[in-house]
């Protein structure tokens, strides 16, 4: 702390003072103009509430949403990484058809707004998929059965499973396009000599990719990859549009029923911030090693 103060120049103090001044004017103006009745004390109750019938604390809307967002982000990240690596490899393939297919997929997803992708996917594909696999009934049966603890832990309320899955898939598809480009850049940044060395000890193309190129490529692209996963967490808010009960969806519900507009949204913002900032700190640590 003392070091930081020593490093500050007198100009820094002037700038800080101006910023604080402007910020307080804005806050005061908003406070006056809005005439908003802050009720922060009601927010904790929407994180956890005491369930009288079971005599224990349970997660309420906001924390339910937070947990769902974390679940969606984790599963979508894993899926996006798998799809992205496949896409990245396909983009570098020697086969023209494979390369063109990968390119088409990428360009479609990259040049259409995510919200539009989400709606198209949801209405055209996901409905069909869920019906075809009879997922709705399957999920409801699990929800009704007695030993559904593992399922509930992994996917939350099983009655909402189809929506959750749609959300995860569409988010993963969307992000995989970007992950794929990052992987491609990584693969292409690996020195040509590495491939030649791998080939000259008799490795097949697949072995060369698996043991020599990919491990080096993935190491090189850690920073942009970390960025992409942070983006994914933020983009996960979009799946609330197709009724996936994530943090954004739950916040909308909360606002609709309680009118705690600012409190609820600021809390949601804080939750997102904590996840994303936590991730960026974590990735920075990993990179340094």
């Amino acid at each position: 702390m003392r070091k930081l103060i020593k490093r500050l120049h007198w100009l820094d103090y002037v700038i800080l003072a101006v910023i604080i001044g402007v910020a307080s004017v804005i806050i005061l103006r908003i406070g006056g103009a809005l005439n908003y009745d802050w009720r922060w004390e009601r927010i904790p109750n929407y994180m956890f509430r005491y369930k009288e019938s079971e005599e224990r604390w349970v997660a309420n809307l906001l924390v339910q949403g937070l947990v769902a967002t974390i679940r969606i982000s984790i599963y979508a990240s894993i899926l996006a990484l798998i799809l992205g690596v496949i896409l990245g490899i396909a983009r570098c393939s020697a086969n023209l058809t494979v390369r063109m297919l990968a390119r088409t997929y990428l360009e479609f997803l990259r040049n259409v707004p995510p919200v539009v992708v989400i709606f198209i996917f949801f209405f055209f594909l996901s409905e069909q998929l869920i019906q075809a696999l009879n997922m709705e009934r399957w999920a409801r049966e699990i929800a009704r059965s007695d030993n559904n603890a593992v399922w509930t832990f992994l996917f939350g309320d099983m009655r909402r499973f189809p929506a959750l899955i749609s959300g995860i898939i569409v988010l993963a598809l969307f992000e995989s396009a970007f992950v794929g480009e990052i992987v491609r850049a990584g693969i292409q940044s690996v020195d040509k000599g590495q491939r030649e060395a791998a080939r000259s000890i008799g490795m097949s193309r697949w072995q060369e990719m698996r043991y020599i190129v990919l491990p080096q490529a993935m190491r090189k692209v850690m920073p942009p990859m970390a960025n992409q996963f942070i983006s994914l967490v933020k983009d996960s808010s979009l799946v609330s549009l197709i009724s996936v009960p994530d943090l954004t969806f739950k916040t909308v519900e909360l606002v609709a029923s309680t009118r705690l507009i600012f409190e609820a949204w600021l809390t949601a913002a804080a939750f997102y911030f904590v996840i994303c900032f936590g991730l960026s700190v974590l990735f920075r640590r990993l990179e340094r090693r």
Binding site: D191, G193, E196, A197, S200, G202, M203, Y211, Q216
Partner: protein, 248 residues
């Protein structure tokens, strides 16, 4: 089985990069255990030629047969051939994300499917041969250039190759490290393995070569035993080249 002691047989090979002809009508025979040194000015096609031997490049005309296997793009024998032919590169090309030991074991384990224990035993034997057994657990970046190149030689030997190709193995090294690599190569030459070296190290060539090959502009200009090659080369161009690299 027919006793055939020809290891490498190159006949009338042409190689193009788009419009540029890198090799023109190249023919060469290398017997089992023979040590061939190829020299010539840069851009003369020396590297291209030996890269065609293990299918890192493919020739456009003529035939290359290595130990009975024809080198052909997409052929089934290619991976088998590459296991028999080791290649040492100018830039070492060690795998930077693997330790020295892993660099040596990954080929035998993944390509030849031998057990880890056996691969490690083999790797340590060859590390001993190139005089750096103590570096096994380090990463390539922690080693000097000379040590890295010796690891690269050991990595090729770990595949129990019958032919070793060297593509200017000392050109990227600091002068004080050249000898440690050449020493290993001289020792290797005495084991009876077939060697083809592209190099400008004429002292090394004199010491180990059975045959000297001089290339220029994609053609083999002269092939001769070293005594004759160094004292009385036939072509003018070769004489000039030798005087340029020897006279200082």
């Amino acid at each position: 089985m027919v006793q055939n002691d020809t290891m490498i047989s190159v006949s009338k090979v042409d190689k193009f990069y788009d419009d540029f002809q890198a090799l023109t009508d190249v023919s060469l025979t290398v017997k089992q255990g023979e040590r061939v040194v190829i020299c010539g000015p840069s851009g003369s096609g020396k590297s291209t030629l030996i890269r065609c031997f293990n299918g890192l490049e493919f020739h456009n005309a003529g035939t290359i047969v290595i130990d009975g296997i024809e080198v052909e793009e997409g052929s089934k024998g290619l991976r088998r051939l590459r296991q028999e032919v080791g290649m040492v590169f100018q830039q070492f090309n060690l795998f930077p994300h693997l330790t020295i030991l892993e660099n040596l074991t990954i080929g035998p384990m993944k390509v030849q499917k031998i057990s880890r224990a056996e691969a490690e035993k083999r790797a340590r034997t060859y590390l001993e041969r190139v005089h750096i057994p103590e570096q096994a657990d380090k990463y390539p970046a922690q080693l000097s250039g000379g040590q890295q190149q010796r690891v690269a030689i050991a990595r090729s030997l770990c595949m129990q190759t019958r032919i070793m190709l060297f593509d200017e193995p000392t050109s990227a090294l600091d002068p004080e490290m050249i000898n440690e690599v050449l020493d290993v190569m001289v020792e290797l030459a005495s084991t009876g393995i077939t060697m083809v070296c592209v190099t400008h190290e004429m002292g090394f060539a004199r010491k180990v070569a059975d045959t000297m090959v001089f290339m220029e502009a994609g053609r083999i200009v002269e092939t001769a035993p070293p005594e004759k090659f160094f004292t009385n080369p036939e072509s003018e161009r070769c004489k000039m080249f030798l005087s340029q690299i020897l006279d200082h």
